[in-house]
C-alpha cells in the first residue's frame, strides 16, 4: 500500500529512492492516522530548528517517505497522542529543539535532565540559568502493599547507566518505568557543521557494539546524498564486517543471558567464541570492534594477505563449537526453567511498535532490513530468517542462535564470491554544490537502524539524525517484565539488550 496521502507534486528526492515532502498540518495528521490504522510503520520522528520530520514506511518497506512540517509557532500536532511508539521521540524533540508536541499525553522531559545549562540546544536555543534540576515525577502506582525499588543510573556490573523504577507487590513487578538520557552526548549537535569524515567517526561511536552498522548506515546515507556508488569489493567487505559484528554480539549476549540465569559455564564458552571473532576482526580489519572500518566512499583498508584464511578458520571453529553449546543450552532443564515463559512480549505489541531485530522476530514480526527493503550484497546472498511467536526470553535466545548460524552461512558465501578490485573511492570535492539529502536503513544486530542527513553546499553535514533500534524496544521491555518477578529482570533485560548510548544519543 503506497503512502497515498502525500501527492507526487510535493515530493522532493531523498536518495536513494526515498522522498521527502513539506506538508501542512492536515497532511501531517493524515500521515499520523495511517500509523494508527496500521497502514504504515513509524521509521523515526525528529526535529530541527523550527521544523519537525517524520519518516514512515508501508508495512513491507516498498515505499519510504519523510514528511516535514514547519512549526513557525514552535508547535506541532502530537503523533504520540495517537500512536504510542512516537511518545519518547516527541519528548526528545521537545527537549532538543524546544518545539511543543501539542496534545502529547506525557509532557515530562526525556533526554533533558535540567543540567545542560541550555534548553532546546539544537533548536533556536535559549540558555537557561543553572538551577537545581527539577525532580522527575514517576508514574504513580497505588494499591495495598505496593512499594518501589529504584535501580540506577549506575548498575551492579559492567553496564551502561539508566534508571529503572520498579513498583512491586511482593516479588511481582506491577510496573517498570524506565528513565533514560543519562548518556546523552549531543551527537546530532556535534555532527552539524562537521565534515563527512569527522561525522562518520561520531556515527561510529553512537553505540560501540553496533559501530559497523552505524558507520555503514551513515556512509550509505552520505553516498546516497552525493549519488556515488562504492566499489563492489567494498560493498561485500562491509557486509562481512557487519556479519562479524552480529556474530560477536550474539555470541557474547547468549552467554550473558545464561549467566544471568546463573549458568556460568555457557558464558565462559560463548565468551571464548566472541573473543575469537574479535581477534579475527583485528587481524583482518585492524580493530577488534572494527571501528572506523566503514567510511563514506568504501572501507578504510582491504583485507590483509591471509585475511581469507583467518576468516575461514574462524567460521570452522565456531561451526565446531557452537552446536555443542546450543545443545547444552537446550538440554539444561534448570536453565530452560528460567528462560521459557519469562518476559513475554506479545506479537500485537511488537507489531505496533515496529520492533525490529531479534526482539521483533521472537514475537512474530518478520522484519529484516537486509531482506526488505534490502541492500547489496544481501540481494545476492541466501539466508534463513528465523521468526518465532512465543515472545519469551527463550524465543529471543533461539532467534539469536539461528542468526548466528545465518551469519556463518553469509560469511561463507561472502568469502566464496568476494569480488576483486578497489575498496574505496574519493568523495567529490566539496565546494559549490547543491544541498542534498540522503537516508539509509541498515540491519544492525539489534534491528533496523535509520540515518537521515542533509549535506550543505560545502559538503559538510548540516543536519544528521540517527535512530537506534532501541527506541522502539526499550518501551517494550517495560511491557515484557510486567507480572514477572524482580529476580528475572536481569534475564529479561539482557534478552532485549537495548542500547543506552544509541538511544540517548
Amino acid at each position: 500500500m503506497s503512502i497515498d496521502c502525500i501527492p507526487q507534486s510535493l515530493r522532493l528526492p531523498c536518495r536513494p529512492r526515498w522522498w521527502r515532502a513539506q506538508v501542512d498540518e492536515p497532511r501531517w495528521r493524515e500521515t499520523a492516522a495511517g500509523l494508527v490504522e496500521d497502514r504504515w510503520r513509524l521509521v523515526s520522528l525528529w526535529g530541527e530548528a523550527g521544523l519537525v520530520h517524520m519518516a514512515v514506511a508501508d508495512q513491507d518497506y516498498a515505499e519510504i517517505g519523510v514528511v516535514s512540517l514547519a512549526c513557525p509557532q514552535g508547535r506541532f500536532p502530537s503523533v504520540g497522542r495517537l500512536h504510542p511508539p512516537a511518545i519518547r521521540l516527541e519528548r526528545a524533540v521537545q527537549d532538543l529543539f524546544g518545539l511543543e508536541a501539542v496534545g502529547l499525553t506525557d509532557g515530562r522531559p526525556w533526554l533533558d535532565h535540567g543540567r545542560w545549562g541550555v534548553s532546546g540546544p539544537l533548536g533556536i536555543g535559549n540558555s537557561s540559568p543553572d538551577s537545581a534540576p527539577a525532580p522527575y515525577s514517576f508514574l504513580p502506582v497505588v494499591g495495598e502493599g505496593v512499594h518501589q525499588i529504584p535501580v540506577g543510573p549506575i548498575h551492579a556490573g559492567i553496564i551502561e547507566p539508566g534508571h529503572f523504577r520498579f513498583s512491586v507487590n511482593g516479588e511481582t513487578v506491577v510496573r517498570l518505568e524506565e528513565r533514560l538520557g543519562y548518556v546523552h552526548k549531543g551527537i546530532e549537535g556535534l555532527m552539524a557543521g562537521a565534515g563527512p569524515a569527522a561525522a562518520a567517526r561520531l556515527a561510529g561511536r553512537t553505540s560501540g557494539d553496533s559501530t559497523v552498522a552505524y558507520s555503514l548506515a551513515f556512509a550509505q546515507a552520505v553516498e546516497a546524498a552525493l549519488d556515488i556508488e562504492v566499489p563492489g569489493r567494498a560493498v561485500w567487505l562491509r557486509a562481512l564486517m557487519a556479519e562479524l559484528e552480529r556474530l560477536a554480539n550474539h555470541c557474547g549476549d547468549i552467554g550473558a543471558i545464561c549467566n544471568d540465569a546463573a549458568f556460568a559455564i555457557l558464558q565462559a564458552r560463548f565468551a571464548m567464541l566472541r573473543e575469537a571473532v574479535l581477534r579475527a576482526a583485528r587481524a583482518c580489519f585492524g580493530h577488534r570492534l572494527m571501528m572506523d572500518g566503514v567510511v563514506p566512499g568504501g572501507i578504510s583498508a582491504d583485507l590483509p594477505e591471509h585475511g581469507l584464511d583467518i576468516l575461514r578458520a574462524l567460521v570452522k571453529e565456531i561451526r565446531r563449537e557452537f552446536p555443542r553449546l546450543v545443545e547444552l543450552y537446550e538440554n539444561t532443564a534448570s536453565l530452560k526453567a528460567r528462560t521459557v515463559g519469562t518476559g513475554i512480549l506479545s506479537p500485537a505489541l511488537a507489531r505496533q511498535f515496529g520492533a525490529g531485530g531479534f526482539v521483533g522476530r521472537a514475537s512474530g514480526c518478520e522484519v529484516d532490513i537486509r531482506r526488505r527493503p534490502g541492500y547489496p550484497p544481501y540481494d545476492r546472498l541466501g539466508f534463513e530468517l528465523p521468526v518465532l511467536h512465543s515472545g519469551d526470553v527463550n524465543a529471543r535466545v533461539w532467534v539469536r542462535i539461528r542468526e548466528v548460524e545465518a551469519s556463518l552461512a553469509l560469511i561463507e558465501q561472502i568469502l566464496a564470491s568476494l569480488p576483486e578490485g578497489a575498496v574505496r573511492i574519493g568523495l567529490p570535492a566539496g565546494e559549490g554544490r547543491e544541498i542534498r539529502e540522503g537516508a539509509a536503513l541498515v540491519e544492525s544486530f539489534r534491528g533496523d537502524l535509520f540515518v537521515w542527513l542533509r549535506l550543505g553546499g560545502d559538503g559538510k553535514v548540516e543536519r544528521c539524525h540517527l535512530r537506534d533500534p532501541s527506541w522502539f524496544q526499550w518501551p517494550l521491555l517495560e511491557a515484557a517484565i510486567e507480572g514477572n518477578i524482580v529476580a528475572d529482570f536481569p534475564l529479561c533485560n539482557k534478552s532485549f539488550n537495548c542500547s543506552y548510548s544509541g538511544h540517548d544519543g
Binding site: I158, Y182, K185, G186, G208, Y500, S501
Partner: protein, 172 residues
C-alpha cells in the same frame, strides 16, 4: 555438560599460551602484578566500573578482561557491585552532564584509599564529544584521576597494563 567440563579439566588452559608478543606480555604482567599488588593490598584489588557517557565500546573490552584468554581474576583483580566494596573506580565516557552527580556520589561512597582510572580517550579529555553542550570533558574535571588508559577503546591487554601501572606507581 559433563563432557564439556571434563574437556575443560584435561585441556591445556586457554589462558594465553598463544604465540607472539602479546602472550609474553600477559605472562610478564601476571608476574609483576603479583609482587606489587600483594605488597599494597594483600591478594586483591576490587574494581567498580562507572560509565559516565561511554558509547559502550570500553565496556565491551572491560567485559573481555574476564574471559578465559585474559582471566582478570587470576591477578586478584575483580569487579564488584558497589563502590563501598571498591578500591578502584574505572570510569569510561566523556563525562555527560547527566551523569556528573552520579559519578560524584559514587566517588564519595568509595572508601579510602581509592584510585580512579580513566578508561579510554573520552574519559581522558572528552575525546570527540568534548565540544558538546551535554558533556563536561575529561572526568578529571570532577574527580581526581590517578591514571589514564588511552585507546578507543583500549584493548584488554592495555587495560591490564594500566591497572598494573597504577599499583606500581602507588607503591613507590
Amino acid at each position: 555438560m559433563r563432557k564439556l567440563l571434563f574437556e575443560g579439566l584435561f585441556q591445556a588452559p586457554l589462558t594465553e599460551p598463544a604465540p607472539g608478543a602479546e602472550a609474553a606480555a600477559v605472562l610478564e604482567l601476571a608476574q609483576r602484578l603479583e609482587r606489587s599488588a600483594r605488597r599494597r593490598l594483600g591478594r586483591s584489588l576490587a574494581i567498580r566500573h562507572v560509565d559516565v557517557g561511554s558509547c559502550n565500546g570500553c565496556e565491551l573490552e572491560m567485559h573481555a578482561l574476564g574471559n578465559a584468554f585474559y582471566d582478570l581474576e587470576r591477578f586478584g583483580l575483580r569487579f564488584v557491585a558497589s563502590p563501598r566494596h571498591a578500591d578502584v573506580l574505572m570510569v569510561t565516557g566523556p563525562l555527560c552532564k547527566n551523569m556528573s552527580e552520579a559519578l560524584e556520589r559514587t566517588w564519595l561512597a568509595t572508601p579510602e584509599p581509592k584510585w580512579v582510572v580513566a578508561v579510554g580517550d573520552c574519559a581522558a579529555d572528552g575525546g570527540i564529544f568534548a565540544p558538546s553542550y551535554a558533556c563536561l570533558g575529561g572526568i578529571s574535571t570532577l574527580v581526581p584521576v590517578d591514571l589514564h588508559v588511552p585507546g578507543c577503546p583500549p584493548d584488554p591487554l592495555r587495560l591490564l597494563s594500566g591497572l598494573l601501572g597504577l599499583i606500581e606507581e602507588n607503591i613507590k
